[in-house]
Each structure stands twice: as structure tokens, then as C-alpha cells.
């Protein structure tokens, strides 16, 4: 999928019969539309259940907001490095591109590490997956997000390896852009989750 693709001019008819986006990029946008509803369903489920503790500890009781703020910051910074990776690859700077791809994956990895730590400490404090509806909903929502970040890391590392093998050139910088779309989407979802789940207090 080349970045310099152009809409061919076909003379006799001015009307566009294509969106002007490449198939793959359009497909990613369409897929992300679907993902909104997936996270919408999970967030709604959590909001419905967040105070239903069945007499046991609620996730909101054990939240460590300063810690999660730091790991959220790390994840948001990975969007910056993602942009720098795309910029480097589209300028043809393979080495810089690899550096930023790796940095993005590492920042994502730190976020996942933070989530693993958070989950285990919650379990120690008495909030496990099966404790109550609130905890089931919390772990499912944040777990789904974590799986999305992990898949993103797999994609980034695949790009990294492809670049090492010399297969990621300026010509297919759009692939980086498409992975970037996914990565930014997952970040934006986290902004929602962090705000709605962690910052808005349970009443």
C-alpha cells in the first residue's frame, strides 16, 4: 500500500467513486468504529455495576490513583513516540523509525506491566475477578483494554522486525500509519476509561 498513491483521473466523470483513502486505511477506520461499540458495552457494564459489591470490597476502594495516573501518562506518551515513528519512516529514516517503534512498544509494555502490578495488588487486597459484579466488570473492562494494548505491541514489534529485515521502507510508511491509528485509538479509549472509571468518584 504505497503512501504516494493518487486518485487516478478518469476524464469524463468528475464524481468520486472512492473515498480517496487506501483500502487498508479505510478498513482500519471502519474497524475502529466497531471497536467503539465494544468498549461502549464494557464501559456501560462497569458503570452499571460499579457500586455492586455484594458486601465485599469494591474496586473503587482499592484504586491507587497516583500510580494509575503515572502509567496512564506513560501510555499517552507512547502516542507521541508513535507519531515520531511514523514521521521517521515516512521520511525514509529507517533507523530512527525503529528507535521510535521500539520506544512505543516499550512504553506500552510499561503500561501493561503497571496493569499486571495493579491487578495483582488488587487481588491481594481482596478484589479478585470473581469477588462481586463490580470487580468482574472492572477486570473485564481493563483486561480487554490491556489485551488491545498487548496486540498493539505485537503489531509494533512485527513492524520493528520487518524494518530490521529492510521490508519497512518509505514506500510502505502507510502500514505504520495504520498501526498508529489503532494505537492512538487504544490510547483514547484509555482516556475514557481512566476518567470514567478512576476519576469520577463512586457515590
Amino acid at each position: 500500500m504505497s503512501a504516494e498513491a493518487v486518485v487516478a483521473d478518469h476524464g469524463h466523470d468528475e464524481h468520486a467513486t472512492t473515498t480517496g483513502l487506501s483500502h487498508t486505511k479505510l478498513a482500519m477506520w471502519v474497524f475502529l468504529g466497531s471497536e467503539c461499540l465494544l468498549f461502549g458495552g464494557l464501559i456501560s457494564t462497569y458503570l452499571l455495576y460499579k457500586t455492586r459489591g455484594n458486601g465485599r470490597t469494591l474496586p473503587t476502594d482499592v484504586f491507587d490513583i497516583p500510580f494509575t495516573s503515572v502509567s496512564s501518562f506513560v501510555l499517552l506518551m507512547s502516542s507521541l513516540t508513535m507519531v515520531l515513528a511514523l514521521s521517521a519512516v515516512s521520511r525514509g529514516e529507517a533507523e530512527a523509525g525503529r528507535t521510535w517503534l521500539l520506544a512505543t512498544a516499550l512504553l506500552g509494555g510499561v503500561f501493561i506491566g503497571g496493569q499486571v502490578y495493579e491487578f495483582t495488588s488488587f487481588v491481594r487486597e481482596g478484589v479478585a475477578f470473581t469477588t462481586n459484579p463490580a470487580s468482574s466488570a472492572f477486570f473485564t473492562l481493563t483486561g480487554f483494554h490491556g489485551v488491545h494494548v498487548s496486540l498493539g505491541i505485537v503489531m509494533l514489534m512485527s513492524l520493528f522486525v520487518a524494518s530490521l529485515k529492510g521490508k519497512l521502507t518509505q514506500r510502505n510508511a502507510e502500514t505504520v500509519e495504520i498501526v498508529g491509528l489503532y494505537w492512538h485509538f487504544v490510547d483514547i479509549v484509555w482516556i475514557f476509561i481512566f476518567t470514567v472509571i478512576y476519576l469520577i468518584p463512586a457515590d
Binding site: A8, H10, D13, T19, H23, A27, L38, G41, N132, P133
Partner: protein, 661 residues
């Protein structure tokens, strides 16, 4: 061509390809051919459409047998054909099979086959993803049905699978696990195919084919894909929650722990009501093609048809709670959803009136396809009207969970959806197979099915209003249910006879085909681009990509108005149609990887239920196949390419064996 990038599908007619033999991973890159292996690796949208259609008809028979078991059980009071437990499984699997394994894939067959043809494209945007959709769908369908063999019986919670009935306490067999995981697998298939077809419609239209010139079938299928795109993730969430509850002891649907069973109902119906339109809109599209063709008139109010389809697509998201009027959701919700449910009848009514106006004053030809289309309009209208009665919440309170509801949704799904798709089968059969379905047998099929259908589901209105509950496995004597239940059972047997006639028609018309004149490219005097190319469709679809100047492009190629405003023929089919003789057209290479990915998914499903090691094997197979897929070039790089239009002649001479034929 207005195409963004130089991927294989968009090359001009002069481009050529040979399938190069090159081992990649464990498989040799498959080549075009004619054997059964070629069906396993095909990426041709037409073959994938046929695979969808044939598999859907198989599951139609499976679901049909389940329906007959239900009707035999209920034919007389105190029926004893099935035990109560098995009865629950049979009606659940009947619903699941007919919705997810028959109507949706049959609509997918039409979408795969005809969207590229109607928009003048050589294939869909992602041919391998298209193959993936089908194989995942098939693996999910097989997975779902193996619960009869290895899961201790089918799911027994109804197709909507309400909590808390779906919990381990009330449904201890693995049936519901198979339901939860099987529907997730089917959901992946539909999601992939919706992304693929949306991109196809938006990006791959032939020059001049603006959105408002797209045939209505393609429009309705496009709207359907958007509904799938947004509805599936919602049921995916619900199914995950259910699976976590059953397999990993989560607390989503455990009322003892303070969970709310209504959560499932909301999530399910936010998916479930758009699903109703996912089922009916493709049939609306088919009817909107068949009626103008056999009325010799353009579709009345094309813009209104398109926009009412879009309106149905939007409003379909705002009516789900009418499935839940008796679940105690409060007067404001009930009032709001009553009103939105009444409103959604408006765009549907617009469609019905436009079909009637299309026929008004037309030169009607009542072929079997036309009869099915007209019957679709009539039967759907009956179902739609009983649907409006549900929007009146006090009346709905009486109707809920009675056979009145069963009657209603069979009138819309069978009377609308299934009859509409049968119209499409008779209409496009010559295009797909190169021979007609026999019209005489088709008439028997039509009339017996129409009578049988009304005899089966008409009486259910009466039974429901008399108070007969849905989902009961038997009923006592003396409630006045005997006569109409027997009538419904007789009707269901008539439907079975009609389906048998259809299958016989398929066999007989193929057998008779060599002795009959071939249908030619345009047997019905059609209006859209698929009728401008030979029947059966050549593997490359279009010799040259058509230039579109208006709606009903093919019709206007054949006819024009003379000075007196009369329609006169300006070109015969033989003059105007493409010959399909282009050779060396560049086509996407087949691949085995979609099939390999799809085989991994049910293994993960079995693994989650029985043994996690199996899930690991399935996951490894899927991941390895996905990577092999990603590393496999879309098209064989060693294949002979020729990107210059002016070299067409040489390429044709040099590569006469390049075409798959």
C-alpha cells in the same frame, strides 16, 4: 479508473498474471484450477458467495428439521415426541440456526456475489479476508452444532438466552457454552466481512458510479454491513460476560451477588433489534431489484428507497426496549420506546408504497421471482402491521411470550426475509449458474410455500391471542388450542414439501440445462451491471471496467427515449453485453491461510470448554497462520505482470493460458 492504489484487482484489462509455483511455508502457493482444493483456497468473491449459499441451504434443512420436530410435538395436546428438556434445546437451536446459519449467510451469499458485480468491480477489497469470513463462519457453524454430539445437547435458553436461565444452575450442560463461544466465532466472521464489504462499496465503484447511482440491492447490503459492524460488538460483549460467568465464575449475571439480569436483555436487544434489520434489509434490496425488472419501470422514488433504508438503519438502534416492555423498565422508557417503535414503521411503509407504485402502470411479468417478490411485500406488510401492535405497550403486555409474537416475527423473517431471498435465488440463478430454474416447478414451490407458510403462522396469531404461551413443550386438552395447532403442523409439512420441490428443481434444472437454450447475459431484460456480462459470470467479471452514466446503467445502454418520449431499443444485448473473452486478466492469487486461521478458532472454543491445552494448540495454529498470511504477498510477486494498457494485444497473445479458464 478511480482507484487509489495499484493492487492486483484494479489493474486494467491488459494486465496479465500467471500463477507461479512457489513453496511458501508448508504449503505450495495454490493456483487456480478446477478441483475441490481450489474451492478450499479460493479468493474469488463469486465462489465464496456460492459457498455461503450452499452452506446456508444445508443449515436451512437442519433448522427446518428442528422446526418440524417442534410442530410434531405441538400438533396435538400432550405431545410426547420430545421431552421437555430436548424441546428446549430444539427450539433454541432452531432459532439460532435459522438466524445465524441460514438467513445471515444466505444474505452474505448475495452480498459477496453481487456487490462487486453491481458496482462494476473485479472482486471485493480484500479477497483473502473474504475467504476468511466464510471459513470462520463455517467453522463457527460446525462448532455450534457439535454441541449436540459432545456438549451434552444444544443450548436450551432460547436464541435470546436470557439470564438467569443461561446460568450454570439452570442450564448445566455445555450447550450454552457452545452457544456463547459459537456465536462469538460467527461474530468474527460477520465483522470481518462487514469491514471488507463496506470498503468495497465505498472505494471500488466503477467510474461514474456515485453513491446515488448504486443499485438498491447494493445500498441495502451496505446498510446491513454497517448494522453488523456496530451491532456485533455489543453482542460480543454480552457473550463474553456470559462465557466468563459460566466458565470462570464471574458475577455478571448472578442476582445473589447483586447482579442485574436486565443487563443481558439490554445488551442482547441492542444487538438483537438491529439484527432484525440485518435480516430484512437484504431481502428489501432483492425485492427492489426484482420488482422494477418485471414491471419494466425504474424503481419508484429511488432516493426515498435509499434514505428510508438508511433511516431504518438509524432508527433500528432506538427501539430495542420494546422487546422488554414487561421487564419492569418503568413508564418513561416504555412510553419513549413505544413512540420510537411506531415511528420506525414510517420508513418501512415508504418502502412498501414505493414498491406498489413501481408496479402501478407497469408491464408486469409474473415470473416465479416476481411472485416471490410480491409475496414478500404482502407477507412482510402483515408482519409489519402486527409489529405495530407491539408498539402499543398495554397490548404488548398481553401479547408478550405468546404465540402472537411467534406469528409476528415469522411473518417478517420468513414472509419478508426468506421469501425475499427466494425471489433473489430465482432471479439471479441464471446469472450464477448459466441456466434457469424450472418455472413450472418454481410455481409449485411458490404456491405450496405461500399456502404452507400462512397455514403455519397465520393461526399462531389466534393461538397467541387465546393465551397460548411460547416455549411450552406441550399443552393440556380443552383450552381450544387443538385445531389451530394441528393446522399449523399441517402448514409446516407443506413448507417442507415446498422446500423439497425447490431442491428437486435445483437438480432437475441442472439436468435439463443442456437441452434448453442458454439464458444469455440478460435473460430478464435487467437494469443493473451484472446483466451486462455473460452468464455464468467469467472469473474476471468484467472484460473492461464499465463507465457509469446514471442509475440503471445497463437499461440505458439498451434503451433510450425517442423524439416523442417513447422508450425505444437502441442496442441489443448481443451488441451491448461484454463477451467475457478477455484473457490474462490479473486476479488475486488463492491462499490456504484463511482456512488455516479458521480451523484454529473452534479449537480454541473446545479448549475453553474442555481442556486448555487444546485452546493453546488452536491459538498457536491461528497465530502462525495469521503471520504466514501477512508474510504471503497479496499476489504472487513472481507472476508475470504487465501494467501497460497498450501492451494488451501482446499480453493477450503471450498469455493465453494466463487466465484461469
Amino acid at each position: 479508473m478511480a482507484i487509489v492504489e495499484k493492487t492486483p484487482l484494479e489493474l486494467g484489462p491488459g494486465d496479465s498474471v500467471r500463477y507461479a509455483e512457489r513453496p511458501l511455508g508448508v504449503f505450495t502457493r495454490p493456483q487456480g484450477g478446477r478441483g475441490w482444493r481450489d474451492w478450499l483456497s479460493t479468493v474469488d468473491h463469486k465462489r465464496i458467495g456460492i459457498l455461503y449459499g450452499v452452506s446456508a441451504m444445508f443449515f436451512f434443512l437442519v433448522g427446518g428439521v428442528e422446526a418440524l420436530l417442534i410442530r410434531l410435538q405441538l400438533a396435538a395436546p400432550e405431545g410426547s415426541v420430545l421431552s421437555a428438556d430436548v424441546y428446549n434445546q430444539v427450539y433454541t437451536m432452531h432459532g439460532v440456526t435459522m438466524v445465524f446459519l441460514f438467513i445471515m449467510p444466505l444474505a452474505a451469499a448475495f452480498a459477496n456475489y453481487f456487490i462487486p458485480l453491481q458496482i462494476g468491480a473485479r472482486d471485493v477489497a480484500f479477497p483473502r479476508l473474504n475467504a476468511l469470513s466464510f471459513w470462520i463462519w463455517l467453522s463457527g457453524a460446525i462448532f455450534l452444532n457439535t454441541s449436540w454430539m459432545v456438549g451434552g445437547g444444544g443450548a436450551d435458553c432460547g436464541w435470546f438466552c436470557y439470564s438467569t436461565n443461561s446460568g450454570v444452575a439452570f442450564s448445566p450442560s455445555h450447550g450454552v457454552d457452545f452457544y456463547a463461544i459459537g456465536l462469538q466465532i460467527l461474530g468474527i466472521a460477520s465483522l470481518v466481512s462487514s469491514v471488507n464489504l463496506i470498503v468495497t462499496c465505498l472505494n471500488m465503484r466503477a467510474p461514474g458510479m456515485t453513491l446515488m447511482r448504486m443499485p438498491v440491492l447494493t445500498w441495502m447490503l451496505l446498510i446491513t454491513q454497517f448494522l453488523l459492524l456496530f451491532a456485533l460488538p455489543v453482542i460480543t460483549v454480552a457473550l463474553f460476560l456470559l462465557m466468563f460467568d459460566r466458565l470462570f465464575d464471574a458475577q455478571f449475571f448472578n442476582p445473589d451477588a447483586g447482579a442485574d439480569p436486565l443487563l443481558w436483555q439490554h445488551l442482547f436487544w441492542i444487538f438483537g433489534h438491529p439484527e432484525v434489520y440485518i435480516i430484512i434489509l437484504p431481502a428489501f434490496g432483492v425485492v427492489s431489484e426484482v420488482i422494477p425488472t418485471f414491471s419494466r419501470k425504474p424503481l419508484f422514488g429511488y432516493e426515498f428507497m435509499v434514505f428510508s433504508g438508511i433511516a431504518i438503519g438509524f432508527m433500528g438502534w432506538g427501539v430495542w426496549t420494546h422487546h422488554m416492555f414487561v421487564s419492569g423498565i418503568g413508564p418513561i422508557s416504555v412510553a419513549a420506546f413505544s413512540l420510537s417503535t411506531m415511528f420506525i414503521a414510517v420508513p418501512t411503509g415508504v418502502k412498501v408504497l414505493n414498491w406498489l407504485a413501481t408496479m402501478w402502470g407497469g408491464k408486469l411479468r409474473f415470473t416465479v421471482a416476481m411472485k416471490f417478490a410480491v409475496a414478500t411485500v404482502a407477507m412482510f406488510t402483515i408482519g409489519g402491521l402486527s409489529g405495530v401492535t407491539h408498539s402499543v405497550a398495554p397490548a404488548d403486555t398481553q401479547q408478550t411470550d405468546t404465540y402472537y409474537i411467534v406469528a409476528h416475527f415469522h411473518y417478517v423473517i420468513f414472509g419478508g426475509g426468506v421469501l425475499g431471498l427466494f425471489a433473489g435465488l430465482y432471479f439471479w440463478w441464471p446469472k450464477v449458474w448459466g441456466h434457469f430454474l424450472n418455472e413450472r416447478l418454481g410455481n409449485w414451490h411458490f404456491w405450496i410455500m405461500l399456502v404452507g407458510f400462512n397455514l403455519t403462522f397465520g393461526p399462531m396469531h389466534i393461538l397467541g391471542l387465546q393465551g397460548m404461551s411460547r416455549r411450552i413443550d406441550t399443552y393440556a386438552r380443552g383450552y381450544g388450542f387443538e385445531f389451530w395447532n394441528m393446522a399449523a403442523t399441517v402448514g409446516s409439512l407443506l413448507i417442507a414439501v415446498a422446500v423439497a420441490i425447490f431442491l428437486w428443481n435445483v437438480v432437475k434444472s441442472k439436468r435439463d440445462a443442456p437441452h434448453l437454450p442458454p439464458p444469455g447475459p440478460d435473460p430478464w431484460d435487467g437494469r443493473t451491471l451484472e446483466w451486462s456480462i455473460p452468464s455464468p459470470v467469467p472469473v474476471h467479471n468484467f472484460d473492461t471496467v464499465p463507465q457509469v452514466h446514471g442509475r440503471d446503467e445497463w437499461w440505458h445502454t439498451k434503451y433510450a427515449e425517442n423524439d416523442e418520449g417513447k422508450v425505444v431499443r437502441v442496442a441489443t444485448v448481443e451488441e451491448a453485453a461484454q463477451t467475457g473473452e478477455a484473457t490474462g486478466v490479473h486476479l488475486p492469487s488463492p491462499s490456504f491461510w484463511p482456512l488455516a486461521v479458521a480451523i484454529g478458532l473452534p479449537l480454541i472454543g473446545y479448549g475453553l470448554i474442555f481442556n486448555l491445552w487444546l485452546a493453546l494448540i488452536g491459538a498457536l495454529l491461528t497465530i502462525a497462520s495469521l503471520y504466514s498470511w501477512a508474510l504471503e504477498p497479496v499476489d504472487d510477486p513472481d507472476a508475470a505482470h504487465d501494467h501497460h494498457e497498450e501492451d494488451h494485444q501482446e499480453a493477450q497473445e503471450a498469455d493465453n493460458d494466463g487466465d484461469e479458464q
